[in-house]
Assembly symmetry: C2
Homo-oligomer: 137 residues x 2
DNA sequence: TGTTGTACCCTTACCCCAGAGGGTACAAAT
DNA sequence: ATTTGTACCCTCTGGGGTAAGGGTACAACA
């Protein structure tokens, strides 16, 4: 199992899991918000702090925080630290990845029904993604 | 340049081109049909024959033929050989890849506007494509 | 026997990407 | 001086895809 706990929040990470670490962090924090373990305005451990507690890389935690802030689950206040967003509870139940996946899924299904090969679909996808790199990780 | 010509049809292939060989073949044949150089019912060189003439692998030609037949540009009659499809002219102007690409493009654009990262889109795409391998190349 | 398309097997090389780690640096504030 | 988030640089591992080639085999014919 090898999970390590962060004292401040109830956050654990499983290195053995196929689920990416940053995704586990996002999931954990959202879950903590939804269960009320974390309330709006609560302070989150700093990136370096949490990374150290969980024995993961700063960038991994930073990535999770970045995504969480984009989804308005947390709020970063520069040098003052990171806090739970006022609307965190509502926003935590919103899964953008799921939305994206179903959107993509529909398009793919349509292509398949049109007779397109998986290979062709992949190629087309690659071409579209290649043409503008919006940037961002 | 290094292009080689097939006597029977006006088909050339450029090894230096970044365009895949099989795609060049498809394009060439469609062009030949659209320009009237190949008419419905005309016999095409056999897979092995054309592969030999152009100095490419059998499988490469076979792949092009397979896609062309799926799109009803050509017609394979088993041991008798391959022929230009009766509706070849109409079907040659239909580019499934382009259709697929625009369909995928729309979905991607929607995801981007929803705030999704390119990375997230790729991940979602990968997940969808992974779940059912329809098979086919 | 030879040709047709087709279906398998396996191999090569190339490219792109995700995930994760390591390091250094910076402005803004305390 | 230290902490904060953030932005760069670099690395490595692994996975999965295409494209193309090489080979062998098959049933259906002529």
């Amino acid at each position: 199992m090898q999970s390590q706990q962060a004292q401040r929040a109830q956050i654990a990470v499983d290195i053995e899991s196929p689920e990416p670490l940053f995704a586990q962090l996002i999931e954990q924090i959202k879950k903590a918000v939804l269960s009320g373990q974390l309330g709006p305005g609560d302070a989150l451990p700093s990136i370096r702090q949490l990374a150290n507690d969980l024995n993961v890389n700063n960038k991994t935690v930073a990535k999770a925080y970045r995504l969480l802030e984009r989804d308005s689950v947390i709020q970063t206040k520069g040098y003052r630290g990171t806090f739970v967003h006022p609307d965190a509870v509502v926003n935590s139940s919103f899964d953008l990845s799921a939305r994206v996946q179903s959107s993509i899924s529909e398009a793919i299904e349509a292509c398949r029904e049109a007779g397109a090969t998986d290979s062709e679909i992949r190629i087309a996808f690659g071409h579209v993604m290649q043409n503008r790199t919006t940037g961002g990780d």
